[in-house]
């Protein structure tokens, strides 16, 4: 009897703890920093520079959220995660959000209890091989040794692809991109497979990038985007609409250069005004300042600026916009209206 009373008290205490843990926004504000999970290092997407400052395309999303919530794009604690540790880190609350080339899949959304807040890069899985092998198609890879990051969707796609095409391969499981790069260059595997953007980013760091070809086959859809835990819808909204703000800003022509001017002077376009907080109460609806989007855009620029600076064609990684162009330019990027 006494024990059940005690357990009941524990249950109540546990529920309170659970309820308070759900308000991620309060935690982040109280802490003063955003804990953002990123990769252990993939140049262009998330990697520390020579001074130890994290930079990249995924890092840009973290900084935008920190700027929107805290008004300071540098108030981010970057937590490097591997393919295997990322979900545990998010589920356990070690990080507030994950922006780490993570593919939106049904089971991760539904079964692993995460909430994907959008797509910041439309990707697909590709293969990279040394040019000297003379391989022109992934279907010629019968018997090849393939380096693969464990715990990823690419691992499952790879098994499916070779199974469907009825060819054999030899998987070499590795933990991080850096490890894959070392093993691939050492010749411990013939092929490296991951998302095509990751292949391009990895190849850009090689001494002789031209000696390696990325095969034409894209064997899967890999919509990559930031994600948060299930159960805190307000926090999910903040991350989702920060990403949408970056995408909408590009579409509406708002850049890091002109955002301040547009915000102070106001414009004729009501949607820009609502986005920048000079009209309406969008920020207050999810508990942020009116200029949340201005802060987010100033952190690293709009979506297009982030893309060009980190992974675009002028960078060594050299990715074309492709599917990641705005819907007005034939791509898939499409932000719901700010209304």
């Amino acid at each position: 009897m006494k024990k059940s009373v005690f357990l009941g008290a524990l249950t109540v205490a546990g529920l309170c703890a659970g309820a308070s843990a759900a308000a991620t926004l309060d935690d982040v504000t109280a802490r003063g920093t955003l804990n953002c999970g990123v990769t252990t290092g993939l140049v262009g997407f998330a990697a520390p520079d020579a001074n130890g400052v994290w930079e990249g395309f995924d890092v840009g999303v973290c900084r935008a959220v920190a700027a929107a919530v805290l008004g300071d794009p540098t108030a981010v604690e970057f937590v490097p995660t591997t393919g295997q540790t990322r979900f545990t880190a998010l589920a356990s609350g070690e990080i507030d959000m994950l922006a780490r080339n993570t593919t939106w899949t049904f089971s991760r959304d539904v079964d692993l209890k995460f909430e994907f807040t959008g797509i910041n890069y439309y990707d697909g899985q590709g293969f990279m091989v040394p040019r000297e092998l003379g391989v022109a198609s992934a279907k010629e890879l019968d018997g090849a040794t393939v380096c693969i990051q464990t715990g990823t969707t690419t691992e499952l796609n790879l098994a499916d692809f070779f199974r469907v095409n009825n060819i054999n391969y030899e998987p070499v499981p590795i933990e991080t991109n850096a490890e894959a790069q070392q093993q691939y260059l050492a010749g411990a595997c013939d092929v490296y497979t991951t998302d095509a953007s990751g292949l391009a980013a990895t190849r850009a760091t090689f001494e002789a990038p031209a000696d390696h070809v990325i095969l034409p086959e894209i064997i899967s859809k890999e919509p990559l985007g930031p994600l948060v835990r299930h159960g805190d819808n307000e926090w999910g909204d903040i991350v989702r609409w920060t990403l949408n703000a970056l995408i909408a800003a590009e579409e509406l022509g708002v850049t890091s250069a002109n955002v301040e001017q547009l915000a102070t002077e106001g414009t004729d376009n009501p949607e820009i005004n609502r986005l920048l907080g000079t009209e309406g109460e969008l920020g207050a609806m999810f508990g942020l300042d009116a200029d949340w989007a201005v802060q987010a855009i100033m952190a690293g620029g709009n979506y297009g600026e982030l893309f060009e600076q980190n992974i675009g064609e002028s960078t060594p990684i050299g990715l074309a916009r492709g599917l990641n162009a705005q819907w007005t330019e034939g791509g898939l990027l499409y932000s719901p209206p700010f209304r």
Binding site: G143, E155, D190
Partner: protein, 402 residues
């Protein structure tokens, strides 16, 4: 409080005695400690249930029956990516047991040799072994695993460098940076009989040794046991092999487009892990063996020399049997260490149970708690089995006190 002269029985029991009376105090403390322990445990359990609930997760082992979807490169039992997570875990378990067994065997051999040689009167030999022992004991195992893996990976030729079988060692063995290819045995129809012959010769060896020992005890005559055992080990099987028309043939590896086709591949991940675990644990075993030998009084070997026994016979018949009593108990814990350390396999991508059940399966299904519990349970059972078997051996060699 009562005075000493008061008979306790007449006082009856009062609650304060639980604290002030030494007869009851220890009980009180134990009961309180027990209650606190139970509360802590129930808090842990209910907290876990709460947290799982707030994450919207339940506690369910059903994931073991779902299709795994990933491939494993080293399989001791048939497995393909449509098989279940449970079977993938089993493949990993067998891989763990394989490397643990190989590691324990090699570490014991290395350790016994190094332990004996470290006591050698040859200065160069004993110093060299000291360098080995101290070097391996004092550097973390993970570094050795990665170092050995890097060495085998970087220093060996690429499989593509082998144009034809003539580039291979004995035309059949290829050591490459992806692994070592060996000819694989193919068992024909009559190979079962061959196995029976081999088992029979093992029984014969055991019988012969038993008979030789009885004979030596009775007559004092020493038979060449080792040579006859070796002959029994090889000859009957060899003769049967040719009589049965060579039922076991070899499948030679042939250079293919990317790598070798056919043959048996021993992956560098296995080789690196095996060597690193063996060398590392071997260094510890060497110290255990050395301490065991030093524990045997010098008078024993002097007495044995006085009887005219040669040094190697002295070591085998007088010193080591006595040293074993000191060696075996710490040896068991080294075997357990090696087995548990094999979970460092992840560093070189060896697919042990940590990598399958405790890695990819957990990651793909999100069942961290269940997976880790199963993993912990597996290592617990494996450790208990190893120490159980070794304790049986220990009971045989330890000093019988009558």
């Amino acid at each position: 409080m009562t005075t000493i002269s008061d008979p306790p029985a007449r006082q009856g029991f009062r609650p304060s005695q639980l604290i002030y009376d030494t007869r009851y105090r220890s009980l009180t403390i134990q009961v309180v400690a027990m209650i606190l322990l139970m509360l802590a445990a129930s808090w842990l359990v209910s907290n876990t249930i709460q947290n799982l609930e707030s994450l919207g997760k339940d506690f369910d082992f059903g994931f073991l029956g779902q299709s795994a979807g990933y491939d494993i490169n080293q399989r001791l039992i048939p497995y393909e990516n449509q098989d279940t997570h449970g079977r993938a875990a089993l493949v990993g378990i067998l891989n763990t047991i394989l490397v643990a067994f190989m590691g324990c065997a090699l570490a014991t051999v290395l350790g016994v040799i190094a332990g004996v040689l470290r006591l050698s009167s040859n200065w160069v030999v004993s110093r060299l072994i000291s360098v080995y022992v101290e070097g391996f004991r004092n550097v973390p195992l993970l570094l050795w695993i990665i170092l050995i893996f890097a060495v085998v990976n970087e220093s060996m030729p690429h499989p593509r460098d082998f144009a034809s079988t003539s580039d291979m060692f004995l035309n059949s063995i290829a050591v490459t940076r992806q692994g070592t290819w060996l000819p694989a045995p193919i068992f024909g129809n009559l190979s079962g009989i061959l196995l029976i012959v081999f088992l029979a010769s093992l029984v014969a060896i055991y019988g012969f040794r038993y008979w030789a020992r009885k004979r030596q005890e009775a007559t004092g005559e020493i038979l060449p046991v080792f040579r006859i055992s070796l002959a029994l080990f090889i000859l009957p099987t060899l003769i049967a092999y040719f009589i049965l028309g060579m039922p076991i043939s070899l499948d030679y590896p042939e250079p293919g487009r990317f790598r070798f086709e056919g043959g048996l591949l021993i992956r560098n991940s296995l080789i690196a892990l095996w060597l690193a675990l063996s060398l590392y644990t071997g260094a510890f075993i060497a110290e255990i063996v050395r301490s065991g030998i030093l524990s045997v009084s010098k008078g024993q070997s002097e007495a044995s020399f006085a009887l005219g026994l040669r040094p190697n016979r002295t070591m085998n018949l007088v010193i080591l049997p006595q040293a074993m009593r000191v060696i075996v108990p710490p040896l068991i814990s080294q075997f357990l260490n090696l087995t548990k350390n094999s979970s460092l396999a992840i560093a070189v991508g060896y697919m042990d149970v940590r990598a399958t059940l405790g890695g990819i399966t957990i990651n793909q299904t999100g069942r961290e708690l269940e997976g880790m519990l199963l993993l912990g349970l597996f290592y617990l059972v494996l450790s208990l089995v190893i120490s159980g078997v070794m304790n049986l051996y220990n009971n045989r060699v330890k000093l019988k006190e009558r």
